[in-house]
C-alpha cells in the first residue's frame, strides 16, 4: 500500500510500496502538480515498473513547461531500480 502525504505546496512524501495496484491513485495525485515537484522517498521501500511509469509520465508532462520531478532520500533498493532502468539519468536524485 502506498501512502502519499503533502509536505508543502510542491513537495510530496511517498511511504510504503508503489506497486501496480497503486498506479491510478498516484497518477491522480501527481496530476495536481503543475510546477517542479519534489518527492521525498525516505519511506518508500518498493517501486515496480508501473510505479516508474507514473513518475516518467509526470516528468514528461512537467518538462513540457520547463519543470521537473526531483526525488530525495531514495533508499538503496529503490535507487538500484532507477539505476538498472537508467532513469537515474532522467530524474534528479537529491
Amino acid at each position: 500500500m502506498l501512502t502519499i502525504e503533502q509536505v508543502s505546496e510542491n513537495e510530496l512524501k511517498f511511504i510504503g510500496r508503489f506497486d501496480a495496484s497503486q498506479h491510478d491513485k498516484a497518477a491522480d495525485e501527481l496530476l495536481h502538480q503543475k510546477v517542479t515537484v519534489t518527492i521525498d522517498m525516505e519511506g518508500l521501500v518498493y517501486i515496480s515498473s508501473m510505479g516508474l511509469s507514473v513518475l516518467v509520465n509526470t516528468y514528461k508532462r512537467l518538462n513540457e513547461t520547463g519543470h521537473t520531478v526531483k526525488l530525495k532520500n531514495v533508499n538503496s533498493h529503490v535507487r538500484d531500480v532507477f539505476k538498472y532502468t537508467r532513469l537515474d539519468q532522467i530524474f534528479e536524485l537529491i
Binding site: D19, S21, S49, S53, V56, K60, V81, I90
Partner: protein, 135 residues
Amino acid sequence: MISKRRFERNTDELQHIFHFLKLSWEEFQVDGDDQLEMELSVEEIFMNMIRHNHSALAKQIEVTVEKKEREIALSLSDHEEVPFDITKAKEVDFEEYIKKVKSGGLGIHLVKKLMDEVKFEHRLGVSTVTIIKHI
C-alpha cells in the same frame, strides 16, 4: 520445500501474492533485499501475463516458490495459446528510451537484471516463467 497457490488475474491480487511470498520468505529464511527483488520480479511477470495474455483459456495464474540448497526458484504458470517467451524479448534501447523519455516496457528488463536466471517453458498449452535467485 515447495509452496504453491493460484491467483485470479487482476491487479488487486498483487496484495495476496505478496502475502503468500511473505509467508514463504519466513519459512525459507530469505533476507530483505532478496525478498524485494523477487517480489518485484514476480509482480512484473504477473502483470505481463494479465496485460498481454488474452487467451480465453487463461484463468488463474499459479505461483510456485521452491527453496533449494542455495537458491529460490519462483515459477508463474498461465494458459497461453500463443507463447510469449520473455527470455527472447527485445532488449530495451536505452539511448532511444532516454532520448524520447518513453514510459513502460521496463518490467522484463528489470527481471533480467535482478534475477540470476530466467527460464521459459511452454508445454501442453501452459507457459511457465521460472526465475531463480541465488541466496
